[in-house]
Symmetry: C2
Subunit: 120 residues, 2 copies
Amino acid sequence: MSNLKSLELPVVEPEGAPCCPPVTSAALSEADSVKMAAMFKALADPVRLRLFSRVASHEGGEACVCDIQDVGVSQPTVSHHLKKLREAGLLTSERRGTWVYYRVAPEVLAAMAGLLSAAR
Amino acid sequence: MSNLKSLELPVVEPEGAPCCPPVTSAALSEADSVKMAAMFKALADPVRLRLFSRVASHEGGEACVCDIQDVGVSQPTVSHHLKKLREAGLLTSERRGTWVYYRVAPEVLAAMAGLLSAAR
């Protein structure tokens, strides 16, 4: 009975969890393509991509605006791009004292890398 | 003398070759971010991403327009998106008889996946 019950439970994926097999092994569904395209769009701007790489490669895997703002654009522009990256689910943020610290969301990074990896 | 000469030769990477270490291991340069952002931009549209996945997952790793045009948009729109994917270097194309056949450029796919892979 308990086995039967477990079979009935829907598989609930955590938000932003990897959704898709490698692009070389199966065609994307319409819903998944909308989801994944939004992630790629977040990386489709050179400044945003550099900021993302600055956060991702920063010591301890996190960075505050103060650490990464020397990318040649104004501070409000940096904030705007960080907000876009957060909204797309690629970065998470946490306020500690004066600063907001950003981290890469590893499951989102893994979803994008998984989609683009060559199928075995 | 011949050794000296070889040292002077610039390293010429094949066009579209993987450029970048994992985003978690090093910050992207400005030049590389422009190059990589253009690739991600090509995948930043749901229809384009679906077409890309259709080509990538098609039997033999290649597809003609006739194989992949049922994505719910007009044939000229399909052609437009395939052109964008080709221009971004993600697809290569070859005319054979009546049809143009598309293939994923494996080195470009590898460059994007490599950039997004978690550093070791």
